[in-house]
Symmetry: C2
Subunit: 662 residues, 2 copies
């Protein structure tokens, strides 16, 4: 997961005997796009066609569906651009430029108290982003690397009009569902095509990836560019233990119950089934990730290695008086911050983080209640979520014509209110204020029924009306979020000053200590910023048996049972005879990816697309904490599988003509 | 949790200045009863009246209810004995005698290999139990104390005809539901009265506890007798870590999802609501226990103490060559056993332990498939569940007229089949055999619809028809359990020989090492055998604030919201004016109890009943691993609360006349 500005071409040459030059890197950088929801894509034609995963556009597909027309079931194909349908609220960004601002950030915080440094850092980043945007037509976001060891300004071109071009049916895109998720061999057509528009016209883009028919052979070097979201490989042992004992079990308990509620509710009506159909896969994905992360943190060998590495680093720091004075306290500072976190975590998660108030309506209300207040104070003093450069996105989400599924909304809100009471107890002041004499279910039903926040025009008028309009609103969801705002703000302030501030300071110290002692031998933890990883097409050894790195389209039919999640769509059943069944379909590679890389192009040394990353194998989940090259594998759709499906099953001839197929 | 044969009267005298003699102990022993489902009760009159918790008879209440008559909602009161209703399958036992068989067991296993010793131990226990029953009219069960450090034969009088006499409504018995569970202050009338019968007549019993009006005052010494189920205080650190990293998270993930499914399913019809109403509280109780057990194992101070104690014991063993030779290997043996366990645990749980095949029907089928085979081999070679002395209970459960709730049955079976596939993967041979091309839901629906095992007569005829009848049965649930039996047996054999056998040996070694070095300074871990704990009526300090140890009946009305789980039944609302609202209702004490103590009498030094234990406070959950006297509290219904409710709310005058109230 190397940055494009620190890519180790020498190492790649050494291990894979291929030359990766500046031109290759720039083309890959400018052909790789970020989807705001936390995915990656790649330009596939000069006319702004974007290839990404099917599961990266589920939100769009759901927003374009209704009880009458379920695009998850039918799939979608626009024969001509005019049939392409805008995805409400979707945005796509391309990294165009970057600037190292480490010295500025460190200079602004050096010598300050923890909480002053924390505030000053955030103020400076807000200012630098704003100055950057004021002086260019790019969107500027600061990026922290190595947990504060380095800071960059990343400058993006952003497309605010994104349209759906092609999506196969959910049953084949997510064939095998949760049981097969994170497994390989695999048979998923987890692809979709989007297009970026400007002024109502498809946009011409300067860079794109040609597709390489035939893909890459076993052992061939491949690269994955993309926006991996979050890894935790540089965390201290105390932080890992806190994840093991608290964060991961709590996530699992909360979302496992919600999963059960969704699955049973989905059976009560067709509308409920449709509202749950895709969402459930996202939650199940999370559960599988957390569960296997927890398992990986129970691995005594790996944890012992972490302990040893940390002890060695600490010892090396303490051995040099200068380093000891500058960084020696860092590990104890982390433990102090975690102790404080432990005393506020339940309230913080449920009130400030809204775990007790889940859903779109409470999300809109929080934005309105908080954002209108924040907007009135100077940019650099605001919470970062409402800084000037973030406001266009805040507004875009607030005003987007995304439908609110009221059934799902009640389900989620009733559940989260129930958990709020369970976690904080019926006697907690916020619980009493919120519930009064109502049950969580009755309250959720009343709120969703009576709120008007599902109407984008109402949201817009409240936002434009500002603090006064929001303060006098009698919308019950606004009233609810207003009622908890004081306590939420208190919790946020405690978190910022007593948890985030010491953690930021300690992490920066540890990063600098690592640079001083070990040099820059590892790449930074993932932070949703652009990275390129390299490896090769390879299987692995599972319980003593070799796993072959390719599957074929034909074997999909052997795995199909006719029942979800092993049900094939009619289009596939109909095309079975015409299909070239030997076509390579999915494949595995040794590249290092993590959530956020979904939709990433898999690229050969010539800069051609050979696959579409959509998952990892089960061992890839431990990649959150360490990369084990023996077993950690990326799972991708093979370029030949996409081409054969588009041609033989979906008749997407115009799109095939648009692609540059080599 | 001392045994009656090792009760430390001297210590009690020292700490509480009361004299507990042999007579007191014998009366308490013979007045305390065990309910087969895992609860405790006490005789309350010479006519065989038994006081226990309401939540200990939920199974009976459900079995006596129907869609037309829901006794959970209405409550139940028999004015005369002829109105008392038999609880299907319920049994009650009283410990009459005991015999120390430690020397016999150790002599039979000394010097044998791990798995030979394991088999020999089980064979001997089956033989001793059988000889005991053949030579008396008591029911004999072996009991292991200190994880094999001691063995006893416990001899019970058993009552097979148990009838429901009185049960208040579920909403007041479990007032506050899951949110208030394990909390205090508390307002629960978690009581019920049963009666034991012989030959269709109420049984006269030799011992019972008179009730002490006024109860016990703050700081007064109190005792709790009962059958605590399971504590893990003498476990090795490796076993605790295994619970933390595997058992507890897996329980939480599984049952949290099932909880969610139950709650949403309960909303689909009145019948579903009734089938879930009580059961959900049991599952929620489990989730709260596991979650807080997990939290307690994340306590670095307590875990560090465990590590230190173990290291000290090991060091003391290794310091004496004789002890080192005899016991030194034990801790490594435990780790070896756990390593093996880790490789089979998923299959063992889902196939042999039936986690993938939950419900009554698969339970009956397992008993039929396995029990008919086991019955045909010699008593001492059988699996212990089917030894001669266990068969009457096996048959009683198999033939009991307990209704099978088919909706709940489908819900649970579909869920567990889904988890079977999720855990073992769609390619596991058992998963493929079981599911074929069916979905978990479709298979569960078909099995429950087509099976005839809900009919006790069918079960009886299969049981009596033996292996031949079972082998030729075309009942689909029998077919299912037959299909998985070979793999289940293999897993069981591996578990017995490679996990249980080394663990048993190691645990016995550790117990002996502890006796040798530390003497018998602590009581044995709970094993559902009779124990007596002592303490005093006390509150505690919670987050700096003192908690007063009593609540009053009147304050119940302040807490009621009208909505579940804070809804009061009509009987209470109607009686509010007549009620003596200052009556003490629930109270807390420093006694050391755990699950299985539910329904235990709280007794004063005079041997009179002053309360009815029904729960612990939240800190009592850590009692699974250590007892912290500063915060661990028992929560009980006060005797005055029971008397006032019976008199003023329920008009249970005949029962009040029957009690000996002092």
């Amino acid at each position: 997961m190397w940055t494009v500005h620190d890519f180790p071409s020498g190492r790649v040459k050494e291990s894979h005997d291929v030359d990766i030059g500046q031109e290759w890197l720039e083309r890959v950088q400018k052909s790789t796009v970020r989807l705001d929801g936390g995915c990656t894509g790649s330009f596939a034609s000069p006319e702004g066609l974007v290839l990404t995963n099917n599961h990266c556009v589920w939100g769009c597909i759901r927003n374009l569906s209704s009880d009458e027309e379920n695009l998850s079931e039918t799939g979608f194909l626009a024969i001509e651009p005019k049939e392409e349908r805008q995805c409400p609220g979707m945005r796509i960004s391309v990294l165009r430029d970057y600037e190292n601002i480490t010295a500025k950030v460190h200079a602004a915080t050096d010598g300050k108290t923890e909480s002053d440094a924390n505030q000053e850092r955030k103020a400076l980043l807000s200012r630098l982003e704003k100055e950057c945007e004021d002086s260019s037509d790019l969107r500027c976001e600061s990026v922290s690397l190595y947990h504060g060891g380095e800071y960059y300004l990343y400058k993006y071109h952003r497309y605010d009009d994104v349209r759906l071009v092609f999506a196969p049916e959910l049953p084949i895109a997510a064939f095998g569902g949760d049981p097969d998720n994170f497994n390989f061999p695999r048979w998923n057509l987890d692809m979709s095509l989007l297009r970026v528009y400007d002024n109502g016209q498809p946009t011409e883009v300067s860079h794109f990836l040609p597709w390489r028919a035939g893909g890459a052979e076993q052992s061939e070097a491949v690269f994955v560019s993309g926006h991996p979201g979050r890894t935790n490989r540089l965390l201290t042992v105390a932080e890992l233990e806190s994840r093991r004992s608290d964060y991961l079990p709590e996530q699992l308990i909360y979302y496992s119950e919600f999963r059960g509620r969704m699955l049973e509710w989905a059976r009560t009506s067709d509308a409920a089934a449709r509202q749950v159909q895709q969402r459930i896969l996202g939650y199940e994905n999370g559960i599988k990730v957390w569960r296997n992360q927890l398992r990986s943190l129970a691995d005594p060998v790996q944890m012992e290695r972490k302990r040893r590495e940390q002890a060695e680093l600490r010892a090396a720091v303490m051995a040099q008086p200068e380093l000891a004075a500058a960084y020696g306290e860092a590990w104890e500072t982390v433990e102090r911050a975690l102790d404080t976190w432990f005393t506020i975590k339940d309230e913080y998660r449920f009130i400030e983080d809204r775990r007790g108030f889940s859903g779109s309506l409470t999300g809109f209300a929080r934005t309105l209640v908080r954002g209108t207040v924040e907007r009135e104070i100077p940019n650099e003093e605001r919470l970062r979520a409402y800084r000037d450069t973030a406001l266009p996105r805040v507004e875009q989400r607030l005003f987007a014509e995304t439908p609110v599924d009221s059934g799902f909304e009640v389900l989620g809100l009733a559940f989260s209110l129930d958990k709020l009471r369970e976690t904080l107890g019926p006697d907690h002041p916020v619980v009493k204020t919120v519930l009064g004499n109502e049950s969580p279910r009755a309250l959720a039903e009343r709120l969703v029924r009576d709120s008007r926040l599902s109407d984008p025009m109402i949201r817009k008028s409240l936002w434009e009306g500002g603090t006064e309009a929001v303060a006098s609103s009698d919308d019950p969801v606004i009233e609810l979020m207003r009622a908890i705002e004081p306590r939420a703000r208190e919790l946020r302030a405690r978190y910022d000053n007593e948890v985030e501030a010491p953690m930021s300071k300690a992490n920066e110290q540890i990063a600098k200590a690592r640079f001083a002692i070990l040099g820059k031998t590892v790449y930074p933890d993932a932070t949703f910023s652009l990275r390129v990883t390299y490896g090769a097409v390879e299987g692995w050894i599972e319980k003593g048996e070799p796993v072959y790195p390719f599957t074929t389209m034909g074997s999909t039919f052997d795995r199909a049972t006719g029942e979800d999640p092993f049900r094939l769509p009619a289009s596939w059943l109909k095309s079975r005879e015409k299909l070239n069944t030997d076509t390579r379909y999915n494949f595995s590679s040794t590249t290092d990816i993590i959530g956020g890389n979904s939709g990433s192009p898999v690229i050969n040394a010539a800069g051609e697309l050979v696959g579409l990353a959509f998952d990892g194998n089960i061992h890839s989940i431990a990649g959150s904490y360490w990369f084990d090259p023996k077993v950690n594998r990326t799972v991708s759709v093979h370029v030949d599988g996409m081409l054969e499906a588009m041609k033989t099953i979906y008749g997407a001839d115009t799109l095939l003509e648009e692609l540059e197929i080599r």
